[in-house]
Amino acid sequence: MAPAIDLVSEETLRTVVNALVRLVEAAGALVIFIGAVIGVWKFVVALPKRDPHAFVPVRLSLGRYLALGLEFQLASDVLRTAVAPTFEELAKLAAVAAIRTALNFFLAREIAEERRLVEESREPRGPDVRGLPDPRGAPEPG
């Protein structure tokens, strides 16, 4: 009978995957933290304008950082399934992954909606918006 080839022991594999999980999860948390710092700063800058519409681009930016951080954290959840030994840990993992996936879905929808609002507000308006004729191109009456 041929001996089983043991290239990597289970303990080593578990250690390596745990280190990777920590690394990827820390990257996600770092992205969320950086997004929070930038978001808070932009909110503070936008507050003196006293215009609720000024917050929309800030929320859009914060949402992008959150979505990116969530992608990293979902990657770490997937990695963790490789070494989760107990049913309790797997149940927690499933709950956390479900929350992060749902949140990512809603964030993507909100980002698309807010991006559409920002683009609509940036669109140039025609000369007849205020009901006034364009003095350059208007034909002479009579």
Binding site: R22, E25, A26, G28, A29, I32, F33, G35, A36, G39, V40, F43, V44, L47, P48, R50, D51, P52, F55, R59, L62, G63, L66, G69, L70, Q73, K92, L93, A95, V96, I99, A102, L103, F106
Partner: protein, 93 residues
């Protein structure tokens, strides 16, 4: 790492409360203020969730997400109803 993330999450909660209150005072727009508050509370919840995978942290994050969606839907419905009530009635015929 866990203590650091928890500390950052608490700081973000404080920033959420301060900025939400400031936005409400300066803009008089409850929807914008609530959006800021809930966005930053969500950030704090996610940081807390990164720090501890306890059931309470999971439940808190899920609750913040649910509250965020319910409040957004409620405010949107309220705004639509107010806009419909403020619009002039259609003429028939």
């Amino acid at each position: 790492m866990t203590a650091l993330l928890d500390g950052v999450a608490v700081t973000v909660v404080a920033a959420a409360l301060l900025l939400g209150a400031a936005a409400l005072l300066l803009t008089r727009d409850a929807r914008a203020a609530l959006a800021i508050l809930l966005d930053l509370l969500l950030v704090a919840g996610l940081l807390h969730l990164s720090a501890t995978a306890a059931w309470t942290a999971i439940a808190t994050a899920a609750l913040v997400v649910a509250i965020r969606k319910v409040v957004a839907l409620g405010l949107e419905a309220g705004r639509s109803a107010l806009a419909a009530a403020a619009a002039p009635p259609r003429r028939q015929g």
